[in-house]
């Protein structure tokens, strides 16, 4: 991933080569006829120190919005919702074994799973935010969290 595809918003890195779910803070990157899914930097920031992650196993059929897995931090269990519809092809076993990977490299080695989308890969991104709109969306989300006192300034 080249530097040109990443924007910096305050201290957060936001790659522009993928699409984002507006409220769940997951990302989706099309890779041929598959899509890779992960948590974005704000999702990781708000989760805290991740202790455990589980994901639905390969072969699971997911609709957009279905629970694709869950995370635990500070004894809090939160569900992870799939940003797109498709079948789980692969789960990042390394991230499950060591959830710190997700915190340290959420856009790279800390990806969560790979799906075979039920629609054409280019169409699954409909409803997600991508391209230049990402910058304004992320800044607005960061501002919203800060107003709530949820992210340190």
């Amino acid at each position: 991933m080249g530097e040109a595809t990443v924007c910096e918003i305050d201290r957060f890195r936001v790659p522009l080569d993928r699409a984002y779910h507006r409220t769940d803070h997951t990302w989706v990157r099309v890779e041929g006829d598959l899509v890779r899914v992960g948590l974005d930097a704000l999702g990781v920031e708000t989760a805290g120190d991740l202790a455990q992650i589980i994901m639905k196993p390969p072969g699971t059929a997911l609709e957009a919005g279905d629970e694709m897995g869950s995370i635990e931090a500070q004894k809090f269990v939160g569900d992870l919702r799939s940003p797109v519809s498709g079948d789980v092809v692969e789960v990042n076993a390394r991230a499950l074994d060591d959830p710190r990977l997700v915190q340290e490299d959420p856009y790279g080695e800390g990806w969560l799973l790979i799906l075979r989308p039920s629609e054409h890969p280019a169409d699954v991104l409909a409803g997600l935010i991508a391209g230049e709109g990402v910058r304004d969306w992320f800044a607005a989300e960061l501002d919203r969290y800060r107003r709530e006192g949820s992210v340190a300034g």
Binding site: T46, Q52, A73, Q74, K75, F76, S150
Partner: protein, 341 residues
């Protein structure tokens, strides 16, 4: 604007229902609903395991011997022993509008519980996000989850605690069980001990309700809706099912956390207990004994040392000179503690 809480004081319910009822309330909660404060105690003892934890952390033989069913809850944390001498309280709120960062979320949810304990005469504080402690001793077991459109925060008031039962149901070596029990007696305080006086259920409920009512703009007594009861019945069966309880989970680091900062690290059949960053007791067996006659010397050398690589390496070197597993032992203690303190 605060609309007040819906208060459900359910009294005594079956073991499984003491878990499923608040999961059911959360499942049924809509974004526009009022927050719910639910109170209940189980009629019988049981073991509850956290959503992400492995069933093999529990000594199922010990559970069977003691007649304890095992249920998997949807909230986080490790295996816990629950019995009728505990009062469970749950705050269930619509997720929307609640702080997204966990420290803030815990603070808002458990702030009233801290106030309630203080009103009972307990010097309660919330440490490391979610641990309720008083003068260095844990006073409540906590956990939380997002369930549907709701967030659930759970805690308990412990009137009496069966430390031996809690240690016994953990699948750890016999020596480690005794150490877990010893540390729990020291670092887990029933409310009577924390307050320095007898506190009964009625008084505890009164203070909890008052504290949460003050924080949420009042509390109105309510009863379970039919659909909530129906959902709880469905969950009764699920939570008791072999598939749910035995769900496959990734391995967790081998340790038992007593409270924030107090941990028993498991190294095979050996164990090391750590209290607030300092090695407490050590029991090294099999491969962790450098040479005949050095076991006691090494154990004594490690005890009292801070959990820092240099300090521990020096202790090992002083006790047994050059040893090819020295670095491995030091790393296991340091990584085990830092990962679970």
């Amino acid at each position: 604007m605060l609309d007040g809480l819906r208060l459900l004081d359910l009294g005594w319910v079956s073991a499984v229902r003491s878990q499923t009822v608040w999961h059911a309330i959360a499942e049924r909660m809509r974004p526009s609903d009022r927050p719910v404060l639910c109170l209940c105690s189980p009629t019988d003892p049981y073991v509850s395991i956290g959503y992400h934890r492995r069933l093999d952390e529990i000594d199922l033989d010990a559970c069977e011997r003691r007649g304890l069913p095992v249920f998997r809850r949807r909230v986080g944390g490790g295996p816990v022993y629950c019995d009728p001498s505990q009062l469970f309280f749950q705050l269930i709120v619509p997720a929307r509008g609640w702080p997204a960062v966990m420290d803030r979320a815990w603070e808002r949810a458990m702030g009233p519980a801290v106030d309630a304990f203080r009103a009972l005469g307990v010097k309660a504080e919330l440490v490391e996000g979610n641990d309720l402690v008083a003068e260095g001793r844990k006073i409540s077991g906590t956990g939380a989850a997002r369930i549907g459109d709701a967030l659930v925060f759970v805690g308990n008031v412990i009137f009496e605690f069966d430390h031996a039962a809690m240690a016994d149901v953990l699948r750890v070596p016999a020596g480690a069980k005794r150490e877990v029990e010893r540390l729990m007696r020291r670092y887990l305080a029933p409310v009577r001990e924390a307050a320095g006086r007898e506190i009964d259920r009625v008084e505890a409920i009164g203070e909890i309700v008052d504290a949460y009512a003050a924080a949420f703009g009042g509390a109105r007594r309510s009863t379970l809706a039919d659909e909530e009861t129906a959902s709880a019945r469905v969950l009764d069966a699920l939570f008791s099912s072999r598939d749910w309880v035995g769900s496959d989970r990734p391995p967790v680091p081998p340790r038992v956390k007593i409270r924030a900062g107090v941990t028993v690290l498991l190294l095979g059949s050996s164990w090391v207990s750590v209290t607030d960053g300092v090695v407490d007791r050590v029991a090294l067996l099999n491969g962790w004994v450098p040479a005949p006659g050095l076991r006691g010397k090494l154990q004594r050398a490690l005890s009292g040392r801070p959990v820092e690589p240099k300090a521990l390496a020096r202790a090992v070197r002083d006790a047994c000179g050059t040893w090819d597993r020295s670095e491995e032992l030091v790393n296991a203690i340091v990584a085990g503690y830092r990962g679970g303190a």
